[in-house]
């Protein structure tokens, strides 16, 4: 170990991996099964705020009211494009390879929007406020990808 040696940069590839299970809960499960079995969207209405939230959840994010299945209302299936972006790089968290378009879609009757894919359109053709309709998977598995994507109406 007498002679000093030069060492170039050295890199190591590793993974941080979390193996877990997602539980949709009572209200989320009803949302997914309705989507799978009837191709219908359920939102949830907070009586205190007079807002319909999509996707539905057990607690209102604005006033923290406890919500139940009785508060669920049918919304959509069409909606408007609130905002959108073009994804040009690939990240492992994305369910698709880039390039693709993510949009925030506010369904008719809902007061909040949710992110999903926008297809059958170029990025240049998109405008906020555009009317959109969902395209469903043939074989639905009760998850959010039962909606394949949204496209301009």
């Amino acid at each position: 170990m007498s002679e000093e040696k030069e060492y170039g940069p050295f890199e190591v590839d590793q993974h941080i991996t979390a193996h877990s299970r997602y539980y949709a809960g009572k209200i989320g499960s009803l949302f997914y099964t309705t989507l799978r079995d009837h191709k219908k969207f359920l939102g949830i209405k907070c009586g205190t705020c007079d807002k319909v939230l999509w996707p539905p959840r057990g607690t209102c994010g604005r006033c923290f009211s406890q919500l139940s299945e009785a508060d669920m209302v049918e919304i959509g299936p069409n909606g408007i494009l609130e905002t959108f972006t073009l994804i040009t790089y690939h990240e492992p968290v994305h369910p698709r390879k880039a390039p693709f378009i993510y949009g925030i879609i506010k369904l008719d009757g809902a007061d909040t929007g949710m992110a999903h894919f926008i297809d059958e359109v170029t990025f240049e053709q998109l405008e906020t406020g555009m009317r959109l309709q969902p395209v469903f998977e043939e074989e639905r598995k009760a998850n959010i990808l039962d909606i394949k994507y949204f496209r301009p109406l």
Binding site: M1, Y7, G8, P9, F10, E11, V12, D13, Q14, H15, I16, T17, A18, H19, S20, R21, Y22, Y23, A24, G25, K26, G28, S29, L30, Y32, T33, P92, V93, A142, N143
Partner: protein, 169 residues
């Protein structure tokens, strides 16, 4: 209420969040990993102040915070300093895959080293066959297959011809 809850179909799905990343090993760790990859040798580093030998090597001594300078070559054998039998899967940081339980995981102190290295131990997960102080040796990947990370150490295994001292559990 409870009845309705059980009648409803509840949805759950496996969710695997995998974040691959690359880190620069730095000056000392690079030298260690290159030594392991090219020569199959463990390099430790000695603290000039307290004489403590650390492996894997770090620039600063963990005990007295002095810059480490003297490289020492360690052997392939050491002593088991602690162990556990894993009944839950462990995520392998090199691949992100789960290691199927049960298996033995242990801390090995190589001869001439003061710190331990935590790694897989190739012993049947049975407390009557493992003990602290057991002599261990490293089993490395073949030179052609080594990639330059800690997975080049496949596991530690006991040196043959040892018997557990004291009573059996």
């Amino acid at each position: 209420m409870t009845r309705e809850l059980f009648e409803q179909e509840l949805i759950s799905m496996p969710m695997i969040v995998d974040v691959p990343y690359r880190f620069a090993a730095g000056k000392y760790m690079s030298r260690f990993l290159i030594g392991l990859k090219d020569n199959g040798k463990f390099l430790g580093i000695r603290c000039p102040s307290c004489n403590r030998v650390q492996m894997p090597p770090r620039i600063v001594c963990a005990a007295c915070h002095v810059k480490n300078t003297e490289w020492v070559e360690l052997g392939q054998e050491g002593t088991l300093a602690g162990f556990t039998i894993m009944y839950l899967p462990l995520t392998d940081p090199t691949t992100g895959k789960l290691h199927k339980p049960p298996f033995t995981y242990g801390s090995v102190r190589l001869d001439g080293c003061d710190s331990v290295i935590d790694h897989l131990v190739n012993i049947e997960p049975d407390v009557n066959k493992i003990w602290i102080g057991m002599r261990m040796k490293a089993v490395l990947r073949s030179k052609e297959q080594r990639t330059g990370d800690l997975s080049d150490i496949l596991y530690f295994e006991p040196v043959e011809g040892q018997e557990k001292p004291g009573r059996q559990l």
